[in-house]
């Protein structure tokens, strides 16, 4: 039927997916006013994805902070600047590692479960049932989860950063013997709320939106079989990781 030659299928498929995902975002944004009627559902989702990811994100934050403490202590000791450890660690976390690593963990923990949940709703006709009850599943299912990603991600990144700084303090001050006062005072004078902290907050809001959008989209458009749900879940992790890292580069370049 279709006489137009299609581009090689992988590139074509990828472009088609990006286009469909963009249209889906438009539908979600258009449904947000309607989804405010389901505000309880949105709050439930924020709690759900937030609480679900909190433990893993805090644990990983602690280890990342401890590693940063060790590595940067080594680097700084070459230049005789170990007093700057607190500043360097917290800048790395606020500006870069907090938003990015937390987003990758969020994709693996909350993103997959959003995709699997919505995919299963698709496969068992629950989304169609909502449509038949004149309830828009975009407003009731998709939009609350998208908003939950936007809200939960920056909070989770904050938790990640706090645990990271705690970990670096543990290594630098308690273990390697840096002066406690120097650690904190250098940090507070070296970190700017607007330039550094907010930089990371903008990033994590963007990453939260992107990961939640991909997760919801993959679940919503899954093939209605158990195999389809499995593929969709994998795609959520793969696409989220790629997009988060690529977007991180772009945002870093612009926010510098």
């Amino acid at each position: 039927m279709n006489q137009i030659r299609k581009p090689p299928s992988m590139i074509g498929d990828a472009l088609a997916q990006i286009g469909a995902c963009g249209l889906f975002l438009v539908q979600i944004v258009a449904a947000i006013p309607k989804s405010l009627r389901h505000v309880v559902e949105t709050i439930r989702q924020i709690w759900f994805v937030g609480a679900m990811s909190l433990v893993i994100i805090m644990t990983c934050g602690l280890f990342v902070g401890m590693v940063l403490g060790l590595q940067l202590y080594y680097v700084l000791s070459i230049f005789g600047g170990t007093a700057a450890l607190g500043t360097v660690v917290s800048l790395s976390l606020y500006r870069e590692l907090g938003p990015v690593v937390a987003a990758l963990l969020f994709a693996g923990r909350a993103g997959t479960s959003i995709t699997a949940e919505i995919g299963l709703m698709r496969a068992t006709d629950q989304l169609a049932a909502m449509e038949m009850m004149a309830v828009d599943p975009i407003a009731y299912v998709a939009a609350p989860r998208f908003l939950a990603g936007l809200v939960a991600m920056p909070l989770l990144a904050c938790a990640f950063n706090a645990m990271g700084i705690f970990g670096a303090h543990l290594v630098g001050v308690n273990w390697l013997g840096l002066d406690n006062g120097t650690f904190w005072s250098n940090m507070t004078s070296g970190v700017d709320v607007w330039k550094d902290v907010m930089n990371g907050v903008w990033k994590s809001i963007a990453f939260g939106g992107v990961v939640a959008l991909i997760a919801v989209f993959q679940g919503y458009t899954t093939a209605p079989t158990s195999e389809g749900v499995a593929y969709a879940t994998t795609r959520t992790v793969v696409f989220s990781s790629i997009v988060v890292l690529a977007l991180d580069f772009v945002m870093t370049a612009f926010l510098m």
């Binding site: 068992t124 006709d125 049932a129 449509e131 009731y140």
Partner: protein
């Protein structure tokens, strides 16, 4: 068998009118110019072998899937031409029983049945409770109100879905294969329920099924579709007598008459790797 309730063939009061519908799904023609009238206030059965498009037809009627051509008028409104808001307004008056119940897994039986009320009406909690329990009582599951869908048997889930479908007293209910997987007792209960709803509330019912004996006991009118066309139309009595071509083959359960049992396929012998011998048995 006499049919005092048999509708006149050209009943003008059709709540659903299907005209010239054509559908192709995945390159496969499903409907080839189908016409159909669902009389208001009656029970109409749509029968046919599996894979003929019975579910697809219900999806057309409710606007979940648009046909490639043709008109579907529900209460005078042409479904394929409706805006999303108009479609949702129409659906608020339609009950739909999914083949696999489609209960929301996060919610209890009570909340599943209450869902349409909570989403569309701001009613006091006590009233919601009364309405939900009344409907659950009607399907015999008031005692199961606090169970979760995962704790229900298939037949129970079907009845919960039925309670949910009638919670807002629709004018039209579509049942997609409501008898599949039910034991004889549950089947009789569902049959009686469908008839009661139709008689007491005057709800127009469309029943997709292939249990002809069961359907014949309650349906006023039957359509049989096969090969993308309506092949028979009439009262259950007429369909049993087999006045229309193809009827006997289907209801007599004979395979590969006018109603093919085999999905279109290559030559059987060739598929099994035997040398092709023209005309061999």
């Amino acid at each position: 068998m006499t049919d005092p309730r048999a509708p006149t063939p050209n009943s003008t009061d059709a709540i659903v009118q299907v005209r010239g519908v054509r559908t192709v799904l995945g390159g496969k023609p499903i409907f080839d110019n189908i016409d159909m009238d669902i009389p208001r206030g009656r029970i109409t059965a749509i029968m046919g072998p599996s894979g003929t498009g019975k579910t697809t037809l219900l999806r057309h009627i409710t606007g979940q899937l648009m046909p490639d051509a043709g008109e579907i008028r529900v209460d005078g409104q042409n479904v394929p031409a409706l805006s999303r808001d108009a479609l949702f307004a129409l659906r608020e008056r339609i009950g739909y029983l999914f083949q696999n119940s489609a209960l929301l897994t996060d919610f209890s039986v009570f909340e599943n049945v209450a869902f349409p009320l909570r989403q569309h009406l701001q009613l006091p909690e006590e009233l919601v409770r009364n309405i939900v329990l009344t409907k659950l009582q009607a399907v015999g599951l008031r005692g199961a109100a606090d169970l979760m869908p995962s704790e229900l048997s298939g037949g129970m889930a079907r009845r919960v879905a039925l309670a949910r479908a009638i919670i807002r007293d629709p004018t039209l209910i579509l049942y997609d294969e409501p008898f599949v997987g039910l034991d004889p007792i549950a089947l009789n209960q569902v049959l009686r329920l469908i008839r009661t709803l139709n008689e007491t509330l005057g709800i127009t019912s469309v029943l997709v099924a292939h249990e002809f004996a069961a359907v014949a006991r309650i349906a006023d009118l039957g359509y049989r579709i096969a090969g993308g066309k309506v092949v028979a139309r009439g009262t259950p009595a007429e369909l049993t007598r087999g006045d229309a071509p193809g009827t006997k083959k289907f209801f007599g359960g004979e395979a590969d008459g006018p109603v093919p049992f085999q999905y279109p396929s290559r030559d059987y012998a060739a598929d099994l790797g035997f040398p092709a011998t023209a005309g061999a048995a």
